[in-house]
């Protein structure tokens, strides 16, 4: 009895596999940026530093390697960081938002991120936000899958196709602050970031102004005296540091503006290719499974005592063969789309890579000059401190 139903079982299995093909639901809704309803007092605004995102090239799944172009991904790190800065700045919930290439230890809030996937259809980023005391606010993966309408010129908003993802991060940050951060905490965060900056330039003076508690959170131990001349000098340096970072914003802004048009076009075309490739891959996989199942079912049918099953076995076997052949054919067709995408990616890389290299070189050159200057100032501050200590010591005698 069981053997009689075996061919039927395989046919049902084939139908089941067919019905189980994955469908991705794409949202066409756009996450708007949220602003704090309560009137923000200027002194309670936290400044934000965003490190250039990591490209995440070591974390790309094997099936996505062929869709990832390293030079494009490097350029995307600036693009994504810049767009996140835009979302945060436009929310009006924060102080100054800056994209910075290096150390974030003296930012009130420091954001680091890694691009995990970016192929025109899906963007995934891992984002970590912590404040200057070392407390983590957010450590989360964000994903946005866009629909074809995101690239439709008639439907496109002025924002980037994935701006909704950055708005989500900005909204989460606001929600966290509203839930967990009191006014006193805000002021403490600001004080710690100021001390961190001062420590960097005059560690001999400020190293013991903060200490880490057992949870790794920085606590303020003491505050500088009012009218402390060292603090005034360090404040002057900090203003210069802001100027330097603003110069970097000019670099990033120009770069993003240059890459925006070709990159958006690349993503639009990449979206179409990725959609076709994913569909062909799914069809190929499904037909392969169905074909194998049909052949197994057909072989089983040849052993069957049931006449109907026995006589249908050649048809089942032929169907299985055809499905497997079609699976290979779809695989070949998918490969054609891979090649088309590779051509698109290489073309964009040729356009964008020299600009990225120039941006990196300019950033390194400027940062080098700035750091050399900072080193001189550190030495001068140390000399001034030694001089003052000497003076204090001699006056004590």
């Amino acid at each position: 009895m069981l053997r009689m139903f075996k061919p039927l079982f395989f046919l049902l299995l084939m139908a089941g596999v067919s019905a189980c093909s994955t469908q991705t639901v794409k949202s066409t809704t756009f996450t708007p940026i949220e602003s704090d309803d309560e009137g923000l007092v200027e002194e309670e605004l936290l400044d934000i530093g965003i490190a250039i995102f990591e490209p995440g090239l070591d974390d790309i799944p094997r099936n996505r390697e062929e869709l990832t172009f390293s030079d494009v991904r490097m350029a995307e790190t600036y693009f994504a960081s810049y767009n996140l800065a835009g979302a945060l700045q436009n929310s009006g919930n924060w102080g100054v938002v800056r994209v910075v290439p290096g150390d974030l230890s003296s930012s009130d809030l420091a954001i680091t991120g890694t691009i995990l996937q970016s192929d025109g259809e899906t963007m995934r980023v891992q984002v970590h936000v912590k404040d200057s005391t070392g407390a983590t606010w957010i450590n989360k993966e964000y994903e946005e899958v866009v629909s074809k309408y995101s690239y439709d010129p008639r439907m496109r908003r002025s924002e980037d196709a994935f701006q909704g993802l950055f708005n989500k991060i900005a909204n989460d940050l606001l929600a966290y602050k509203q839930r967990n951060i009191s006014r006193e905490k805000v002021l403490n965060i600001r004080t710690v970031s100021q001390i961190q900056f001062a420590r960097d330039f005059a560690p001999q003076i400020f190293d013991d102004y903060v200490e880490e508690d057992r949870n790794g959170i920085l606590q303020v131990k003491r505050l500088p005296a009012q009218n402390d001349p060292v603090i005034n000098r360090i404040q002057d340096i900090r203003e210069r540091d802001y100027l330097y970072v603003d110069a970097l914003q000019d670099y990033y802004s120009n770069f993003v503006r240059q890459m925006e048009t070709p990159y958006t076009e690349f993503r639009r075309m990449s979206y179409e290719e990725v959609m076709k490739m994913d569909k062909l891959a799914a069809d190929s996989r499904r037909n392969m499974i169905m074909g194998v199942a049909a052949i197994i079912g057909g072989i089983a049918a040849t052993q069957s005592n049931n006449a109907a099953a026995y006589w249908s076995s050649p048809v089942i076997l032929a169907s299985g063969g055809w499905l497997i052949k079609d699976a290979f054919s779809k695989g070949d067709e998918r490969q054609m789309h891979v090649e088309a995408l590779a051509e698109l990616g290489n073309s964009l890389e040729m356009e964008i890579a020299p600009q990225t290299i120039e941006l990196e070189q300019r950033t390194i050159t400027l940062s080098g000059s700035v750091e050399a200057q900072y080193e001189q100032w550190r030495e001068l501050l140390a000399d001034i401190y030694a001089n003052d200590i000497g003076e204090a010591t001699s006056s004590d005698l």
Binding site: S35, L40, E42, E43, E44, L45, D47, Y82, N83, G86, Q89, N90, G92, G95, V96, V97, V99, E159, D160, Q163, L187, R190, Q194, A198, N227, D228, I231, N232, R233, Q235, D236, R238, E239, R240, Y242, L243, Y244, V245, D246, A247, Q249, D250, Y251, Y252, S253, N254, V256, R257, Q258, E260, L366, Q373, Q376, W377, L380, L381, I384, N387, G390, E391
Partner: protein, 150 residues
């Protein structure tokens, strides 16, 4: 040399470094501005004017294909490209009582109503520069940038 004389000398070196640094950064920003102009945009992202996105959420993205301006400070915020001319500090900031003195503007320099970001920064840097020689160099840069006397 007494301790206070030594401190004065070290402070002078620090101030010289500041002037040199300001010149370098302004030069870089000027170059970036020229490149932005060449690319067809009149807006530079760094908030030299300090007036962009404010607490009211009205980010200023006008004049640029880019959706926003970063580093544009809410009014009175520290940083944001404002030249070190004693901007208001916030609670949680250390107080800075070292408000720079401003020096008179030379007679041939007109009022700065039509200054762009770079010209305004040069003007502010020159007005705040205590060293007369460096101050005059900054005014020369201002004259060259704004086309005065050409």
């Amino acid at each position: 040399m007494t301790a206070s004389e030594r401190r004065a000398a070290l402070d002078a070196r620090l101030n010289e470094g500041f002037a040199e640094f300001d010149g370098m950064i302004l030069g870089e920003r000027e170059r970036a501005q020229s490149e932005a102009d060449e690319a067809g945009s009149g807006v530079m992202s760094g908030g030299g004017s300090g007036g962009g996105g404010g607490a009211d959420g009205s980010g200023d993205g006008s004049g640029s294909s880019s959706p926003m301006i970063i580093a544009s400070a809410p009014e009175g915020s520290t940083g944001g490209g404002i030249m070190p001319a004693g901007n208001a500090s916030r609670q949680g900031d250390f107080s800075n009582n070292n408000q720079p003195e401003t020096f008179p503007v030379p007679e041939d320099i007109p009022n700065g109503n039509n200054d762009d970001v770079v010209a305004r920064q040069l003007r502010e840097a020159a007005m705040a520069e205590p060293d007369p020689e460096l101050r005059e160099k900054l005014w020369d840069e201002y004259r060259a940038y704004t086309g005065l006397g050409q």
